[in-house]
Assembly symmetry: C2
C-alpha cells in the first residue's frame, strides 16, 4: 500500500475545505467563557467589538455552531498557497529504520513562512468587510506580523505592527519583509502611545517585551477611528481559522485510506496545535474514532505540563480579556529560548479544556535536543524547519523510534508549521555548540503562578 | 476555459519527467566546443575528467544524445520538492487589468530557495557514484552553495564551499544554512590554497571575488585525492539537468491544453533560462511550434544585449575551460547589483548559440524598476521573489501591459526561479529609496571586451 502513497499528497483545489470547523460545538463540557479585564465578568460580544471586529467577536464566543462557511475572498487567497502538502517522510523513516509511517503537514510554503497566514487573511477580510481603515497588532519573532502584513496588503488595509524592540533591531529582515508588504513597523516601547511613553520614561533604554507591545497595539487600535486590534494565537477565533490545517490533513489521509494513530503538534499559544487536531478531536468527542494526540512544548515554558488550570490574563499588560487556561502566570518571563513562537505563558482555552478532559497528552522537550532533531530532519527531508516546528519533529522522531523497538507500524502525523529561514542566529548558536538549555525551577513557577487574578464567577 | 485552470497546476508524481532533454541534439548548428585553458584546443573528456566527474564530463561534451535517463536516486530526491507548481497569476492579471493569461513556474519552494538544487543533486549523485570523497565549489550570493550543501548532505559527501569573503561576512545566514547541512564554508581568498595565499599577500584585506573563489575551489579539487570541482551554471551539463523545469512546465501546459505564446526567463549564466526554454526551443528547432522567447538581463551586466560572441574564459582566474559565448570579457567587474546570481560576464554557450540563431531575443532592465515589479508581485501574488527572478517578473508585466493595449489574450509564461528571503538587505535599500541604477558606458565595455583571448582553432 505504501507504494501507492506519493511523497507529497496534494489535494485538488476543489477538494479544499469550504468551511472551518469549530471543535467547541462538539465539546459537551465547553471551554470557560472569556472575561472582561475591567469587570472580571463574562465579556459580551458588544464589549469585545470595541477591540475586535464584530464578526470575529461573534466567532470568539460561539460555542455551538460546528461549521462556518469560508468566504469566497478568503478561499481565493487560500488558493495562492493552499492546499499545503501532506508529506510522507520516506527519507526520515529510512534514516531512522522505523516501521512507522511518518507524515507531516507542511505549512511553510508561503512568504510568511508559517501557518499564521491562515488566520491573518481571515482577520483582515472581516476588518475590510466592516469598513475599517486598518488593524494593529504586536509581533515578537515576526511570523504573525509578516502574515498580517501580507493579508492587509491584499485587502488594501493599513497595518500597524508593534514589534518588540529587541526583535526589531536583531531581526531586521523580518522587519523588511513587513515593510515590503506596506506595513508600518514600530519598535516597542514607542513614543506613539501613552503606555509606550510611560514605559520609556520608567525604564529608559528598555528593549521591550511582548506584553508591552500588546498594550501599545491595543491602545493604538482603540484610540484611532476605524481601527481594531488583531491577535495571531490563543483566541478561539484563531483556532477556528486554523482548523483548515486539520481539515486538509484529514481529507488527504482519507483520500489514501490512511488512519492516523498519533498526531503531534508544537504548542505555544495553541493556534497550530488546535487547528491541526480540531477535526480529529471532534471525532473523538463524537466517539467516532480514537487518536493519540501529543502537544509538545519547550521545557523552558511548560504551561501544559507544569502550569495551573485557572483564569489568567492573556497578556502581561492585562488589557486583553481573561481566559481560563493552563498558565504559568501572565508575569512569567520565559528564558531566551529560540522558539519565539512558543514563549507564551498560557495556552488556548480550547486546547486547555481538551487537555483537561484527557483528549490530549503533553510533553516538554529541551532546546538542544530540538535542534538536533531539526538538523537531522533538514538533512534527510530537505526542509529547514522553524525552531517551533522542530519541537514536533523531535517527538515524532521519538515516537517513531519507539515503534522501531516495538515493531509497530504506526501512522504518525505531525504539523510542520514553518521554515527557519529567519532563525539562522539560532542555528548558528547550535552549529557553534553554544546553545544552552534552561528549565525553570519549581520555586520560579510557584512565584509566577501565585500572581494569578482572583476570579469569582 | 480559464475557469477550469486552478491557481496552481501540480503534476502528479507519475507525470514527472523521467529523462532530461538535451537541446543541443536538435540544433543543426551546434554550440562551439569548449577549450582547454592551457592549450586553447578542444578539450577531451579525459582532460575534463581531471576537474569534473566522468559522467558529467561526458554530458558536457555530448551534442547528440537527445534524452538522458534521470537516475532513480535523483528522481527520488526530486520528489521531495518537485514537481514544482505552474501558477496561474490570477491576482496579478486582475491588478494589471490585462487580457493576457500569466503563468509562472515557481522553483522557490525548497530550502535552497532556487532552481539550483535541480543540478546540485545530479552533480552530487554522479560524484558519489564515482566513489569520490567530496566536491568543491564557489558561491557568491549563496544559492548554489546552499543547494550543493543540501545535495551533498543527502549523499553523505564532503562539501567544501569557497564563499566570496564579502558575502561570507555580509550574508551570515546563507553561510549558516550551508553549515547546518554540514558543508565546510571558507571565506575566499583563504590561506588554504596557493592562489588564495598569493592573493592575500598581494592585496591585504581584499574582500574577494567570484573569480578568485573559483580558482581556489578548482585548486582544492585537483590537489585533494578523491575530490572534483562542480559548478552551478553556464555549463551545458547544468542546462541538461535544469531542463526538468521546462519539461514540467510543458507537461503542465499540455495537461490543460494551453499553448504558450511568450516565454520569459532571467539570464545570468543561463542555467534557469536554458532549462526553462529547452523543450520549447527544441520544438522550434524541429519546426513543430513557434514561441517568443525573451531573455532578461540586468542593464548593469548586459552580456547578450551588449556583449560580443566570442571565445572567452568562464572565470576570472582563467583556470576553467573556455567557451564560445556572448561575453563582456572575463575581466568585466559588474557593479554591485543586488541580483548576485546575474552578475556574470558571460552566458551559457547553448543559450548564446540559440540567441545567435535568432530563437531568443534579449532585453535588459534596470534595478529599481525590477524591485518595483518585485514589490507589486509580492503584494498581489503573496510570494517574495528573489532579485534575479524579479527581472523576469518585470518583463512579464511589461508584456502583459502591451496585451492590455493591443487587446491580445496572450499566454505569457515566466520562470520564477526563487525566493528573496536572504535578500532583505536589497529590499531594505529599495524600501528606504536608496537603490541606485548603473549602466556601464560603451568605453568600459570596449575596454573589458578588448581583453578577450586570441583563439585560433
Amino acid at each position: 500500500m505504501s507504494k501507492d502513497i506519493p511523497y507529497k499528497i496534494y489535494l485538488e483545489e476543489n477538494e479544499m475545505p469550504k468551511q472551518w470547523y469549530n471543535v467547541r460545538a462538539d465539546m459537551k463540557k465547553k471551554p470557560a467563557p472569556i472575561l472582561n479585564p475591567g469587570t472580571l465578568q463574562e465579556v459580551t460580544v458588544e464589549e469585545l467589538s470595541h477591540i475586535f471586529c464584530e464578526e470575529l467577536a461573534k466567532q470568539e464566543v460561539d460555542n455551538t455552531t460546528p461549521y462556518f462557511d469560508i468566504p469566497e475572498e478568503i478561499l481565493n487567497f487560500y488558493k495562492m498557497y493552499r492546499p499545503s502538502p501532506l508529506v510522507r517522510a520516506y527519507c526520515l523513516e529510512k534514516k531512522l529504520g522505523t516501521p512507522a509511517h511518518i507524515y507531516y503537514k507542511f505549512e511553510g510554503n508561503n512568504t510568511s513562512g508559517s501557518h499564521k497566514l491562515n488566520s491573518a487573511i481571515a482577520q483582515a477580510y472581516y476588518a475590510k468587510k466592516q469598513g475599517l481603515k486598518g488593524v494593529t497588532t504586536e509581533t515578537g519573532a515576526g511570523q504573525w506580523g509578516t502574515a498580517l502584513s501580507m493579508a492587509c496588503s491584499y485587502f488594501d488595509l493599513d497595518c500597524q505592527v508593534y514589534m518588540v524592540k529587541v526583535s526589531y533591531e536583531q531581526k531586521p529582515f523580518r522587519r523588511e519583509v513587513m515593510r515590503t508588504y506596506g506595513a508600518k513597523v514600530t519598535p516597542s516601547p514607542s513614543m506613539n502611545t501613552e503606555v509606550g511613553r510611560k514605559i520609556n520614561a520608567e525604564f529608559p533604554g528598555t528593549t521591550g517585551s511582548l506584553g508591552c507591545a500588546i498594550s501599545e497595539a491595543v491602545e493604538a487600535a482603540v484610540s484611532q477611528e476605524g481601527y481594531r486590534y488583531v491577535l495571531g494565537s490563543v483566541l478561539s477565533q484563531v483556532l477556528l481559522h486554523q482548523s483548515v490545517i486539520g481539515l486538509e490533513t484529514k481529507a488527504a489521509l482519507d483520500k489514501y485510506g490512511i488512519k492516523a494513530d498519533t498526531i503531534i503538534g508544537c504548542a505555544g499559544g495553541g493556534s497550530n496545535l488546535g487547528g491541526l487536531i480540531s477535526p480529529f478531536a471532534g471525532q473523538m468527542l463524537r466517539n467516532e474514532a480514537d487518536y493519540e494526540i501529543i502537544a509538545v512544548e519547550p521545557a523552558s515554558c511548560p504551561s501544559l505540563t507544569r502550569g495551573t488550570y485557572a483564569y489568567d490574563f492573556c497578556d502581561t499588560g492585562k488589557v486583553c480579556p481573561l481566559a481560563k487556561m493552563y498558565t504559568l502566570g501572565s508575569g512569567f518571563i520565559p528564558s531566551a529560548n529560540h522558539a519565539g513562537g512558543l514563549r507564551y505563558h498560557g495556552m488556548s482555552s480550547v486546547v486547555s479544556e481538551l487537555y483537561d478532559q484527557g483528549l490530549i497528552r503533553a510533553t516538554s522537550v529541551e532546546q538542544t535536543s530540538v535542534f538536533q532533531a531539526a538538523q537531522m530532519f533538514a538533512r534527510v527531508e530537505g526542509i529547514l524547519p522553524a525552531p517551533e516546528s522542530s519541537h514536533a519533529i523531535k517527538v515524532a522522531i521519538d515516537e517513531a523510534l519507539k515503534c522501531k523497538e516495538s515493531g509497530q507500524a504506526k501512522n504518525i502525523v505531525f504539523g510542520l508549521t514553518g521554515t527557519g529561514y529567519f532563525d539562522m542566529v539560532a542555528y548558528q548558536k547550535f552549529n557553534d555548540g553554544e546553545m544552552s538549555d534552561y528549565i525553570p525551577t519549581d520555586e520560579e513557577l510557584q512565584k509566577s503562578i501565585s500572581t494569578l487574578p482572583q476570579v469569582n464567577l
